[in-house]
């Protein structure tokens, strides 16, 4: 048994380091110390993740979690998201009181641990715990801005989240009652035995479980919290919520569907319809937004719709596409949020009008912002296009011509609001003449995101190779 424990600890260094870092940061009061600890923890976690054996020689933690290549990819995504958001959070002085910075960063690191666990979960209990960990930390972070609006958003988010996790827990209990299994492997085996009268009950249980996950990834009809929570939260938190939980939620969703075996396959048609509804809804409602955070909230819903295509396709190609698009989405979406943050710092406004004439006040910032927006719209040769290209092809491969056409039309609709922002930046006259100077941390975040969006768009071969190895191992 010593072997299992040792392997477990070995595989789990990144999470352990981040947890320890989070606890330390919460206890510190000085701004400088908090920042130092955060960065040390993040760097150490990255180093540990780099060194961690994939896959570990034994079932770590007695099969509660699994550290395969698939989860490794999502751990990197979680870590990358957290690091970029931490850069933004360091730069963000306006929204959060200095004295609460320690807690702020600590919660951020806790979310990172939760996100990693979500991607690794191999057991219903683990899945539930990790999701609650992410959710609870998120509720707190959403309420962190010094505004009433923020508190209101947090409360809405909390109530809606509590309902969804209750639904999910109920589904899990039903499933446990039907199969007597909790670990994903056993669940999968047991799911083949379900037949007759138990089948409808099992399907309901599966659907209820999906509700909880749908909440996390903002899938229609569990998306209502998204715009309000995004609008109320500090911008770095919104950025985190728009990428981290979406990626981890999709990872967990893939595993849960896999664990449900034949039940999962029966739920796929429902998911496919919701996929198309999600992207159409998100893109259409985004058209009429005037607040940049709300706009990006609906844009996120639309983007999740595209991502779901790869998930529902349930083939190696589909997952490969999902992973590539997630990587692209991470950089381009966080990049847009970093731009929004820079504009907010300068003008104190979150309205789209604040972008007016930005190109003349901050040419560099507008140029990278335009790159992110065009990438989100799927214009080549940017990274987002590569992902979209693969997603569309996975839909066509499944013979879902109508889904591909719907996604293409959605891209055209989405171009409308992305281009609108570019129009404001470039074609409109500025309201004031002073230059915009983003903080140092923000500049680094912007440079990383823009570099990745551009370079990986021009030379995506490496990423494609990496993801095809991962998706090949999963099935």
């Amino acid at each position: 048994m010593g072997g299992v424990l040792q392997d477990s600890v070995n595989a789990w260094w990144p999470e352990a380091i981040l947890s320890a870092g989070a606890l330390l940061v919460i206890l510190t009061t000085g701004r400088r110390a908090a920042l130092t600890i955060t960065w040390v923890a993040l760097m150490a976690a990255a180093a540990a993740l780099w060194r961690s054996p994939v896959p570990p020689p034994t079932d770590v933690f007695y099969g509660f979690i699994t550290c395969d290549r698939f989860s490794a990819a999502f751990r990197w995504i979680a870590l990358g998201t957290t690091a970029l958001v931490a850069l933004m959070a360091c730069a963000s002085r306006r929204e959060v009181e200095q004295s609460r910075r320690g807690e702020y960063l600590g919660l951020l690191l806790f979310i990172a641990v939760g996100l990693m666990l979500m991607a690794e979960a191999n057991h219903l209990l683990m899945a539930y715990l990790s999701m609650e960990m992410v959710s609870l930390s998120s509720y707190l972070l959403v309420g962190f801005a010094d505004q009433r609006r923020s508190a209101e958003a947090a409360l809405k988010y909390l109530l809606f989240g509590a309902l969804c996790s209750a639904l999910m827990l109920f589904g899990m209990s039903l499933l446990f009652g039907l199969t007597g299994a909790l670990s994903f492997g056993e669940l999968r085996q047991a799911s083949y035995g379900i037949a007759g009268a138990a089948l409808p009950a099992a399907l309901v249980a599966g659907a209820l479980m999906l509700a909880g996950l749908a909440f996390k990834i903002s899938m229609v009809p569990f998306h209502q919290w998204t715009p309000d929570a995004y609008e109320g939260a500090p911008i770095p938190v919104t950025a985190l919520l728009s990428v981290g939980p979406k990626a981890a939620g999709l990872a967990l969703l893939i595993r849960v569907l896999e664990a449900l075996g034949p039940l999962g396959e029966r739920l796929l048609p429902l998911l496919l319809v919701l996929t198309v509804v999600t992207m159409t809804f998100g893109n259409l409602v985004a058209l009429v937004q005037t607040n940049v955070k709300r706009l990006l909230a609906y844009s996120t819903i639309g983007q999740v719709g595209y991502l779901l295509i790869g998930l529902v396709a349930a083939t190696a190609k589909g997952r490969e596409a999902l992973l590539v698009y997630l990587a692209a989405y991470l950089f381009m979406n966080l990049g847009v949020f970093a731009c929004a943050l820079a504009v907010f710092h300068d003008t104190g406004s979150e309205s789209l009008e604040a972008f007016r004439g930005l190109a003349q006040r901050a040419p560099g910032l507008s140029a990278v912002c335009a790159i992110f927006l065009l990438s989100l719209a799927g214009v080549p040769p940017l990274f987002g296009f590569v992902g979209k290209f693969l997603l569309f092809s996975s839909a066509l491969q499944e013979g879902w011509g109508w889904v591909a056409v719907a996604a293409a039309l959605n891209s055209a609709v989405a171009l409308y609001y992305y281009a609108n922002l570019i129009r404001l930046m470039y074609f409109a006259a500025p309201l004031q003449a002073t230059a915009v100077r983003p903080a140092m941390g923000l500049r680094v975040a912007l440079a990383v995101c823009a570099g990745a969006t551009l370079v990986l768009g021009l030379w995506p071969a490496g990423v494609v190779e990496w993801t095809s190895r991962i998706s090949g191992t999963l099935l």
Partner: protein, 484 residues
């Protein structure tokens, strides 16, 4: 002289412009001019290297780009693409000279301008569908900014309309490209030309329709043309020149390189639709042009009409018709480019484009009048100039298979005479409008931008074989691929 070198000229120019400080306007302009001139020089070199007798792809270069997905950087030219490449570099150079009228944000302007040239050239030389699509879309973004920032009138609306229309069309093309990839496992244009015909006919028809949509928006074919008058009118002069001169040809080129050879069966079945749409474009475009009071809008609608001949010639699937279609693309590129430059010259001086505001300018600015009369006559199809050869060939080819359509199309030529002569009458003849007593004559710089186009129009009109001999072998091969 390689095709990669050709693409590298404007690309390097763009990078240099980006590195220059934005106050160094002179240096930025000279860099852009040098880059476009270098591209033109390379394309002349390609012309010398090119073996016109061979219908094969020449000067091919190929390198792995995303090997996991079977995507290559693959370029090459044949008799269909070479004239278009040459036209692109020529017009880019001349329109770059014409870009001296841009008075603000020059650094951004010239960087985007050079990126646009990369995209246009890439579209004509790409032999990998993925690469082609990338270049195809790369063209959209700089043009969107050129219209939106430096345009006039309702520039924001027009830029946006242009972007959304063409992107929507090309998204369907993207789906077709993906389907081809999934069915045939390759993006290679030459391979798909061989194997595309093996697909079952209903699928061919769907794919042809998707490609058709992407290209028809660009050409533009009535009823997909509504973006064109807005974009052409509101774009700055160099933008209009490239829009009319090159971007419209990308659609025509797409038909010749992809839609037709990939799906010959479907193309033949759709022949009557293409011919009909061609006729509608010719006649409708001409009638609407006749009704215009805005000089630039008139020229824009005349483009719709003239590009209809490309469609008609193509639909004929005869040697004369297809040669005429290709000839028309080059000829229209030269003529419409010149017309937009001429409109720009007048607008710079008078800040109006309303035809009734002018009058009697012929006596005041004789050189301008000479240029305008020359290109108007070319546009209305005067024998001895390139437009006549092109339209004559297209009609000749189409007369066999599409008799009544061809007869109706000739109406377009009559109407062209009507609207072009209307322009000459309203702008140059009649009593001189007192407002323009002091109107300045064309500068040497402006004359220099027009003289090469004049030489081209005259040269191709007098000796059309120069171009026909270049493209004929490739056209023969095209026909053998489609008709077989």
């Amino acid at each position: 002289m390689t095709l990669t070198g050709l693409l590298a000229c404007p690309l390097l120019g763009m990078l240099i412009v980006l590195l220059l400080p934005k106050t160094a306007v002179r240096l930025i302009r000279l860099t852009a001019l040098a880059a476009t001139a270098a591209a033109f020089a390379v394309s002349m070199g390609l012309l010398l290297q090119f073996d016109a007798a061979s219908p094969q792809m020449q000067l091919m270069q190929r390198a792995a780009w995303i090997p996991q997905l079977n995507i290559f950087y693959s370029v090459g030219i044949d008799g269909i693409s070479l004239p278009l490449v040459w036209l692109t570099t020529l017009l880019s150079f001349l329109a770059c000279m014409g870009s001296w009228v841009i008075k603000d944000r020059q650094k951004e302007y010239f960087a985007l301008y050079l990126l646009l040239e990369v995209g246009m050239l890439g579209t004509f030389v790409a032999l990998d569908l993925f690469l082609f699509y990338v270049f195809w879309e790369v063209v959209l973004v700089p043009m969107y900014f050129l219209i939106g920032i430096w345009g006039g009138g309702r520039r924001e609306y027009s830029a946006f309309k242009f972007f959304v229309y063409t992107l929507t069309g090309s998204l369907f093309m993207l789906l077709a490209i993906l389907t081809l990839w999934l069915k045939l496992g390759t993006f290679d244009v030459l391979a798909i030309t061989r194997t595309g015909r093996t697909l079952e006919v209903p699928l061919q028809q769907w794919l042809f329709a998707a490609f058709f949509l992407g290209f028809a928006v660009k050409v533009p074919v009535v009823p997909f043309h509504t973006w064109l008058p807005d974009a052409h009118v509101d774009a700055p002069t160099p933008g209009s020149v490239l829009l009319a001169g090159i971007l419209l040809k990308m659609g025509g080129y797409g038909f010749l390189r992809m839609a037709y050879p990939f799906f010959p069966e479907a193309a033949r079945m759709a022949g009557w639709v293409i011919a009909l749409l061609g006729v509608i474009s010719i006649v409708y475009g001409a009638f609407v042009a006749l009704a215009q009071t805005d000089f630039k809008k008139l020229v824009a609608y005349s483009s719709v009409s003239h590009m209809g001949f490309v469609l008609l010639g193509l639909a004929s699937l005869t040697k004369e018709g297809v040669n005429g279609a290709l000839f028309q693309m080059i000829s229209h590129g030269l003529i419409s480019g010149a017309m937009f430059l001429l409109v720009g010259v007048l607008y710079e001086r008078t800040h109006t484009r309303q035809l009734e505001d002018f009058g009697g300018l012929g006596a005041r600015v004789p050189v301008y009048a000479g240029f305008l009369i020359f290109f108007s006559l070319a546009s209305l199809g005067l024998p001895g100039l390139s437009g006549f050869v092109a339209e004559f060939l297209a009609l000749l080819g189409a007369f066999g298979p599409w008799r009544w359509q061809t007869i109706v199309s000739t109406l377009g030529i009559v109407l062209a005479a009507a609207y072009m002569l209307k322009v000459i009458r309203q702008v140059l003849l009649g009593p001189l409008n007192a407002k323009w007593q002091t109107l300045a004559e064309m500068t040497w710089w402006e004359r220099c931008t027009l003289i090469p186009l004049m030489a081209g129009v005259l040269g191709l009109g007098v000796y059309p074989l120069a171009l026909l001999s270049l493209q004929d072998a490739a056209v023969q091969q095209f026909l053998s691929q489609v008709i077989r």
